[in-house]
Amino acid sequence: MGVASVPSQGRPVGSSRGQAARIRILGVSHTYAGRGMPVKALENINLTVEPGQFLSIIGPSGCGKSTLLRIVAGLVRSSDGEVVFEVDSGPVRELPGGDIGFVFQDSVLLPWKTVWDNVIFPLQVLGRTGPQAEATIRELLELAGLRGFERALPKELSGGMRQRVSIVRALAMEPRVLLMDEPFGALDALTRDRLNIELLRLWDQHPMTILFVTHSIEEAVFLSDRVVVMSPRPGRIVEDLAIELDRPRAIEVRDEPAFRKYVAHLRGLLG
């Protein structure tokens, strides 16, 4: 497990279905009405995420990271500013169904469906099932170490396995954008390390633009091409750091001086 590494580089930007999208976050601010005083969660966020890029957002609790993710997903309408996606056909405000995958902190599965049925479910909703989709799912389950568990119910799996199912479910529809809100936050350190490696491997085979929210500086540096640091509420971007570590990255990368330097720099900012 310790020597696990990510295979080949030189990944093409685009999956079998369509290109990864560029995300442009333009002057987004958000204020929660709430009871009593309105709460300003985000202030003038400007950020462009390149197609196929892995970008992590870190910041103190309540800095609006999750809110930003939900605004990008279109689940929350921002008070100000806008989000534009640039795909092969040009810029759009809203991507078609299934082009955005979302992974929550804990697995949000349908408890009455088996692993297989949970994973194929979004494709059924989208009307995109077929032999090719099933082949993709089989491959993803294999990559995520879930082979042999296709007929299991969520209640029969560990927390880590359930989370892998929800990641595979998001990837199975081959989204252009994958939004992950502290997806490994509830897992133990060992499981987390393993899933980090697996996520990179899946991303390598199924390229997409990933926005990843986390509390862990090490996790952000390990996974990302870029790490964005946000200030306490109201959230503003205070640092945008390119992580120039070679890929594929093995877990040992974390012992390298360059890795430690990035971490120390970011820790200093979060003080």
Binding site: A73, G74, L75, P96, G97, G98, I100, G101, F102, F104, V108, L110, P111, W112, K113, F121, P122, Q124, V125, L126, L153, K155
Partner: protein
Amino acid sequence: MGNAKAAKVALHVGLFVAFVAVWHLYTVIARVPAYLLPSPLTVWQKFLWTIDRAQLARHVWVTLEEILVGVAIGTVLGLVFGYVLGKSPAAERILSPYILVAQTSPKISFAPLFILWFGLGMTSKVVLVTLVVFFPIMVNGIVGMRSVDPRLYELMHLLKASRWQIFRALELPTAMASFLAGLRIAATQSMVAAIIGELMGAREGLGYLLMLGHETFDITLVLVAVAVMSTLGLVLYLLVQQVERSVLRWRD
């Protein structure tokens, strides 16, 4: 495993036999007059006589039909209202005082009115059963709709799922657990409603048989009716329980 189950069945049978034996011995030893408490043998003979001469099967069928039709209508109406009110908290807030009154009022007390409005036939009983079934189904439907994980709604939103897809794939299965709990209550209540309706005025049905026994001082007939009703109620309950078990196998 098999042995334990056999032992359990043997225990139940033994208890039942013991109960009947005690009952029989009591009527013999204490010389209880038959018009107060007939012996089990007498009741059994009366049961056979009722099948043969008093069309017991027809009475059972009438009551069962009232229950089944009433439960079907009450369930459909309860689900429709449960869905609408579960979806619209505003509508629920406006209607909640009425729902509360309707829920706490003994709906059985409508029986004389329904007999007056809908006659001595099956309709009045079906309406009463519908009324009794409607509320637990609706209330449990609302609870079920509210228990959908909001993040699942968000995932459906990201898939641009239609309202029907959301209902079919998300809301219906989620609400199934509390719906079936409601149905279990409704099944028991529906039996009571049908019988009370028949007691108030009917020309057939198990309630009618009970009333007939009462009015002709035929306590043996009363006991036969009670036994048949109890069995019917038990069967209905077990039926719902079985459905519940097979549908909700995914739960812990």
